[in-house]
């Protein structure tokens, strides 16, 4: 249920070592008033998406049959993308919230 809650510096450093020379990026997605912004993220394998929840209610970023990240109210949570591909995600608590991630190899 919970994926990658903290994004500490040592972790970033080890990630940089693992994926050198191409540095992995962290892409921020803001959740405000039940909207994922940007709605579509362009990323590559090894990049991290960080969701920043500005709402007073918890949300999830859920891929049907795939990963799920829980984002608590007024908190952030992140996920490092492991596989290439194009996926739709939604919030399991509020399925009217939708996002999309394109992951390049």
């Amino acid at each position: 249920m919970k994926a990658g809650v903290s994004i500490g510096l040592p972790w970033l450093a080890s990630l940089a070592l693992m994926t050198a020379p191409a540095a992995a990026a962290t892409i921020e997605v803001t959740i405000d008033k039940l909207v994922f912004s940007p709605a579509t993220v362009e990323a590559k394998v090894g990049d991290t998406i960080e969701w920043v929840n500005k709402d007073v209610v918890a949300h999830t970023a859920t891929v049907k049959g795939g990963w799920e990240v829980m984002i608590q109210p007024k908190k952030s949570a992140n996920l490092t993308l492991q596989a290439a591909g194009s996926v739709d995600y939604f919030c399991r608590f509020h399925p009217n919230m939708k996002g999309h991630v394109n992951v390049a190899p």
Binding site: K33, L34, V56, V57, A58, P73, C91, H94, P95, N96
Partner: protein, 174 residues
């Protein structure tokens, strides 16, 4: 305008026909705050009943989501009315909603197992639909304070999410 509000209230209160005959006027901000808060409290009470009675994992998880979200939104509503120095005012709509919810709770209390789960979730779909309709057609257009209006608009998006979530759970129970 008169007819529109009456129709919206009728839609809101179709479960209990009597009280809205006198409530045809556009609600004031203190009344709107009371209605929205009451609608949240009633769904929290329904959720508590489901958490106690249901043995279905999905239904209990849904009820916990409802309890948590409505508590969070109502806390925000309380903070806002305090800030605006608005005193929520009881009114016929809040009373009719409360009465209808009490009747529904009594009906549900007689059920258990799959019959309870189905009735609870179906009522959640209907209840959110009803409240969302009232928010859209009556409460949001009638709100005069911009911050209250904005809170109601965000609330509507959250509750539309609940409606879809409830429909999804209802589909799983079939």
């Amino acid at each position: 305008m008169f007819t529109r509000y009456t129709a919206a209230l009728a839609a809101l209160l179709f479960v209990s026909a009597a009280p809205f005959a006198q409530a045809a006027d556009k609600p004031t901000d203190p009344q709107i705050a009371h209605i929205a808060y009451t609608a949240g409290v009633l769904d929290i009470e329904a959720a508590k009943q489901a958490i106690k009675i249901s043995k279905n994992k999905e239904v209990v998880a849904f009820a916990k989501d409802m309890e948590r979200d409505h508590e969070a939104v109502n806390k925000q509503a309380l903070d806002l009315v305090k800030k605006l120095k608005v005193k929520p005012e009881d009114n016929a709509t809040s009373q009719a909603l409360t009465k209808a919810a009490e009747e529904e709770r009594a009906k549900l209390a007689k059920l258990k197992g799959a019959a309870f789960d189905k009735a609870y979730i179906e009522n959640e779909v209907a209840y959110h639909k009803q409240v969302n309709g009232a928010l859209e057609t009556l409460l949001i257009p009638s709100a005069s304070n911009a911050e209250l209006k904005s809170l109601l608009e965000t609330g509507l998006k959250i509750f539309q999410g609940h409606e879809q979530h409830a429909e999804h759970v209802a589909g799983m129970l079939k």
